[in-house]
Amino acid sequence: MYKYDQYDQAIVDARVGEFRDQVKRRLAGEITEDQFKPLRLMNGLYLQLHAYMLRVAIPYGTLDSRQMRMLGHIARTYDRGYGHFTTRQNIQYNWIKLDETPDILAELATVEMHAIQTSGNCIRNISSDQFAGAAADEVADPRPWAELIRQWSTFHPEFSYLPRKFKFAVIASDEDRAAMRLHDIGIQLVNRDGILGAKVFVGGGMGRTPMIGPEIKDFVTADDLMSYLEACLRVYNRYGRRDNMYKARIKILIHELGADEYRRQVEEEFAQVKLLGIDPPAAELARITAMFADPGFDPAASDDIDRSDPEFAIWVDQNVKAHKQTGYAIVNISLKPVGGIPGDASADQIDVMADLAQRHSLDELRVTHAQNIVLPHVRKADLYTVWSALTDAGLASANLDLISDIIACPGLDYCSLANARSIPVAQKIATRFASPERQRDLGELKLKISGCINACGHHHAGHIGILGVDKKGVENYQLLLGGSGAEDVSLGKITGPGFSEDGIVDAIERVTDKYVAVREEGERFLDTYRRVGMESFKEAIYG
């Protein structure tokens, strides 16, 4: 894992001191809310429906047990005993007090954490594959590159006031576990003839105008990557629509220019940028990369798993994934118990996960964009011990990628932007499909719910998506089918008229019943939908 050097620590400490002074001046009336709001947002502090909300950055979703314990400590000490893991691999606290925020940031800084780049029109916290460094299918660990982009983007004067917020994802395998092409810039590291480089996709995103990022560069060598990214940003910074926030994202620019013209302009800019020498010196890249070297795997670790406990065996089959190292496995901890709040974890549960990471996962955890937690390096021989501890903590739901593993934004229960509640809908659907046998029979089915058009719940990318809207003051839910954030990326399509809160649950059951009736051997829901088409499902939904 990356460890701060003296510069990183100095920057973060100085930011805490600066914000402490800004809060003091705000409370003393020396600055107005209009003056203060952009300053607090630059430190991740929003004013939400019930209170201030603090969004803490978890760079590329990676953290160690010490950092995870700090997240639990903050939940317990400054919030109401829980935190909410988000679709951006971050954590949010819903009940923060303004006058305590500088102390929270100071505590975070002691474990190399902060809330910078979690708001505002800057390059946001970089996201990545939650299996990075553990997956067997990656060509390289994407995290050194994500870290490099973090360092390049933090307080970069050109990119602190972009036309709109800007999101990066970096992956390094053909299987896309990070919704890479639904980011402003998606990077896939690839190996071509023994040379490491990247495919660069620009202009993806969800929100009110969802788009799949087109491929802008089929191969840029790793040596040129940062210059190329700088060129991508410069063209956007120059021509992005600052006059209209709804058209200010890079996806709109590329849509209007056309991918070919954008590519041409980037190449032109790249030729100039490359002369500036901004790509990192080999020694610096080597320094960062060395921090992501494999942890001390035991080469003699047993590859056997005792599956004699049937409940444990089910959990292994559903939530445990293959690791690149013989004798190890990747454990996915579902934060989606039936009837629970997707992504929420209590301070005690956070502590349990930190302890398990320290004892059984070489001190590493990951946060996933699906609002779950990963223990990336668990010996197979320790799986039963880990599962037992998770069971005791209410964290052993064996539902990864099943219908109850729902992504849901905070919705109208917490968010000031929302038009409808998301969480109660998720709870009702999970309860309707509570039977583990039924869920497993339905197989992989990614259901995603957003409480407004901003799409924090990734509804466009759900095999089944739900969008909450305000219909004359009443919550109403639109249903979408056929989306995917994976390597088979696609955008869901709206089925037709929306539904009430209870009606949407019934509609989803009609969709799954239809799937069960017409699926062919081995077909996931998404496969069946793509084969039979929308009309067949509409008929089942609306009669």
Partner: protein, 98 residues
């Protein structure tokens, strides 16, 4: 009727104008009629409220009821965490919001 609401500056708590002070409880709120904007400006300048705004409401048997569900959720707390609402012991409170 019209209600004046906002958030407490240091804590962020949802607060309601009672005619002379701010309360955490919407039941204490009064009809501000056409004085809401003026009161909001005065109170915001005094740093006793953050982001004040006027909303529509109706008078009900239990006091003022905000017209929009968003403000009813603000007035109570998250419907998915009854324990964190202002009425944790009232089993009917959430149904009244919706």
């Amino acid at each position: 009727m019209k209600l004046l609401t906002g958030n407490d500056l240091p804590t962020g708590d949802v607060i309601w104008w009672t005619g002379s002070r701010w309360s955490r409880h919407v039941a204490d709120a009064v009809d501000v009629r056409d004085t809401g904007e003026t009161t909001a400006a005065t109170e915001e300048a005094a740093r006793r409220v953050n982001g004040p705004y006027v909303i529509d409401a109706t008078e009900g048997p239990d006091g003022p009821r905000p017209a929009h569900i968003k403000d009813r959720v603000r007035a109570l707390g998250p419907t998915v965490r009854p324990d964190l609402t202002l009425k944790p012991d009232d089993a009917t409170a959430i149904a009244q919001v919706i």
